[in-house]
């Protein structure tokens, strides 16, 4: 026996195609084994340990940490992971709580974008990562001023890609997080939107829609991103999307977006438009709001549940959970299973089912004059303001017409549309695009469905909708 003990773990060795130890050793201590392993690897072995001079080149070079060199007779180190445990965090089941409002209770006068930011703050948002873009920038500017006041963190990132990435990173730190943008930036966020779905990361993305495609008309309203919200990221996941129609709802639905994000561990999109973003009107603040906090329970699997529609608990970084967060297909612990058909199917189905099986908690709508309606207008966002006026005027002139206003667009509220379209002979869908929600409505009813598209960067004039309801005209 020489002065040094050289050990090589053949089970770890990648074999003669590597042979780094053999080449690195000045003393020819190593040789290729006579036998390959069942996997066809010819591992190296310690052939002449007595020649070792203890230079440790082999040990420091081995890419698999398969080699150890010790002084002969030296004390053995026990191979266990002591002293490296993170802090132990008590189980936190999260759930609903009530928190006081940050704005004083009563009536305020704000823009939609400011109301959105205030809604985020009271919902518990403490991180904003964003990039300036018209017509959403006021949300960011407001957050830049307000977040430091509440102990939050604001950062203007280098682009919209980085913005949503930072938001997701912050969410895994245990912080409620958001960004806001408009069409071009929303397009840049699509890849990380899918990552948020796959990793089940709660976050809120506000898209204050402007006229596109491409740069389009930056300061003009549109509703051209409805399908993109649902289908823009690859792989086709379900994505919750809410559509506010007023300053009040820029506040209320942003709060709701955070609650849904936390409840289901999903990204939630607030699909606003330039009109509700820039509109100033009154906003009523209640003394307190209901607020949902994610379950943080480090002891349980953070990426899977027994139920096929479950929402797993979400420990944060630094809580000892040793999280494996990955956008690759993974099992309940986060271990990648990138070729296993069952894991892929089970995961993708659960990601969809956890929303689809809880439609009662997500679907959101409002009706006007639907009880005896023969015709139904389905509208959302700022266009629903025009639609409501038109429906009221048409009623005044004896038309039995009602309004279904969709406050949640995705998952599409099929049952709601089917219910209210009911026995109507016609369903009319005005939209600031060439026809997006109208396609969904068509799926949900046997009635005649008429698209009323407008895409000129202007709000749909209520008189145009009225003109259609009274005379069947939809002219420029």
């Amino acid at each position: 026996m020489g002065k040094f003990k050289v050990e090589l773990d053949e089970a770890l060795c990648k074999g003669r195609a590597c042979a780094i130890c053999q080449n690195a050793c000045p003393q020819e201590v190593f040789a290729v084994s006579d036998q390959p392993t069942p996997q066809g690897v010819w591992p190296l072995r310690v052939a002449s340990p007595e020649e070792c001079i203890g230079c440790r080149r082999c040990e420091l070079f081995c890419p698999e940490l398969a080699i150890s060199v010790q002084e002969a007779g030296g004390r053995e180190q026990e191979a266990r992971g002591e002293g490296q445990e993170g802090p132990v965090v008590a189980p936190d089941y999260g759930g609903w709580t009530t928190v006081p409002s940050r704005l004083s209770a009563g009536v305020h006068f704000l823009s939609g974008n400011e109301a959105c930011a205030e809604g985020a703050l009271v919902a518990g948002c403490r991180f904003y990562g964003g990039y300036p873009i018209t017509p959403s920038s006021e949300i960011m500017v407001h957050m830049a001023h307000r977040l430091p006041e509440v102990g939050g963190t604001f950062v203007q990132m280098e682009d919209e890609i980085a913005s949503l990435c930072a938001v997701i990173g912050a969410s895994w730190s245990g912080i409620k997080s958001m960004t806001a943008t408009s069409g071009p930036g929303f397009s840049l966020m699509m890849e990380s939107l899918g990552y948020a779905v796959m990793t089940e990361t709660p976050c809120v993305i506000v898209n204050v829609q402007r006229a596109g495609p491409s740069t389009g008309q930056a300061s003009r309203p549109a509703q051209g991103d409805v399908m993109q919200a649902r289908w823009g990221t690859h792989g086709g996941p379900e994505i919750i999307t809410l559509a506010p129609w007023s300053v009040q709802e820029m506040y209320d639905l942003t709060i709701r977006a955070f609650n849904l994000a936390e409840r289901f561990r999903v990204p939630v999109i607030v699909l606003a438009d330039e009109i509700v973003g820039h509109l100033y009107e009154t906003l009523t603040i209640e003394p307190e709001i209901r607020c949902f906090n994610r379950a943080r329970w480090p002891q349980d699997s953070p990426f899977g549940t027994e139920a096929d529609d479950g929402v797993p608990p979400m420990p944060a970084f630094g809580e000892g959970a040793r999280l494996l967060v990955t956008g690759s297909t993974h099992d309940a612990r986060g271990i990648r299973r990138t070729t296993d058909p069952q894991t892929q199917e089970r995961l993708v189905r659960r990601l969809a089912n956890k929303l689809l099986a809880h439609r009662d908690e997500i679907d959101d709508w409002e009706t006007h004059f639907t009880a005896d309606a023969e015709r139904l207008v389905v509208a959302y966002g700022s266009v629903a303001r025009s639609a409501l006026w038109a429906v009221q005027e048409a009623r005044r002139r004896g038309q039995r017409v009602g309004l279904l206003r969709l406050k949640s667009l995705w998952p599409f509220p099929d049952e709601i549309v089917t219910r209210y379209a009911g026995d109507c002979r016609e369903v009319v869908v005005p939209e600031m695009n060439l026809g997006q929600v109208v396609r969904e409505v068509e799926r949900c009813t046997a009635a005649r469905v008429t698209p009323l598209p407008q895409t000129n960067g202007e709000i749909i004039d209520p008189r145009r909708i009225l003109g259609y309801l009274l005379e069947g005209r939809w002219e420029r």
């Binding site: 990552y195 630094g318 990955t326 690759s328």
Partner: protein, 270 residues
Amino acid sequence: MNDKTAAKSSTPLLRARYLRQPTPFCAGCGHGIFINAFLRAADEAGLDFGRTVFVSGIGCGAWVPSPHFLADTLHVIHGRAIAFATGVKLTRPELEVVVISGDGDLTTIGGNHLIHAARRNLPIKVFCLNNWLFGMTGGQVSATTPPGAITATTPSGNPHRSFDLVKLARGAGAPYVARWSVARPRWLRQGIETALREPGFAFVEVLSICPTQYGRANRGQWADKEASLPWAMLSWQETHCISRRKAQKEGAEGKIVVGEWREGEEPWDV
């Protein structure tokens, strides 16, 4: 033992303490040598894996921490590791945030985030495993592929110049930049330990080797036909790397300068 920089923990102890499982890397992959050096350096520096978040993107280099390191790991989309790390570090400054990924991920698709993190002096540590091409996707040219090198997408040789990552990071304002080579594991281990102890943004380019893609495509240039391909690549790298001190005396013509650069020196200083 005649090694002044010897790690205190034995190899089996390092494995047990810091690693979940063996790597899937090809035989002789330089990234494994980096893991070896990194774990020794982290152990020496007292990096607590329970309070450290490792962030990585896509590619072979991104697999170094995830799923292998027994810590919180955030394995993200291609090119954006530093952007995700920004969100983590800004919200949880008490956690150590370490980005480990490849040249394709951090400097080719993701270069924008690298320069902005350097500019912000975000206190994270970034280790860029530079094997001079895209390994995992089949050996395509990257922003660090040397001019003339053969890759799957430059069959007649790379027609473009490559980034000097040290100059890139320095030019972007990184207060601490270093370059080390897996062919010099002792320097590498010491260099990683130094970077881990830096208070601000630290960028370390780690010259790695990819025998499977780069090696097979360019093996003609390695003289030692007797050695295994990984060793031939390591030997080439060892003979072509020159320390800053030596380069300042002898010049660096045809060499790759390794060492560390701190704020205050001109970005073009050798």
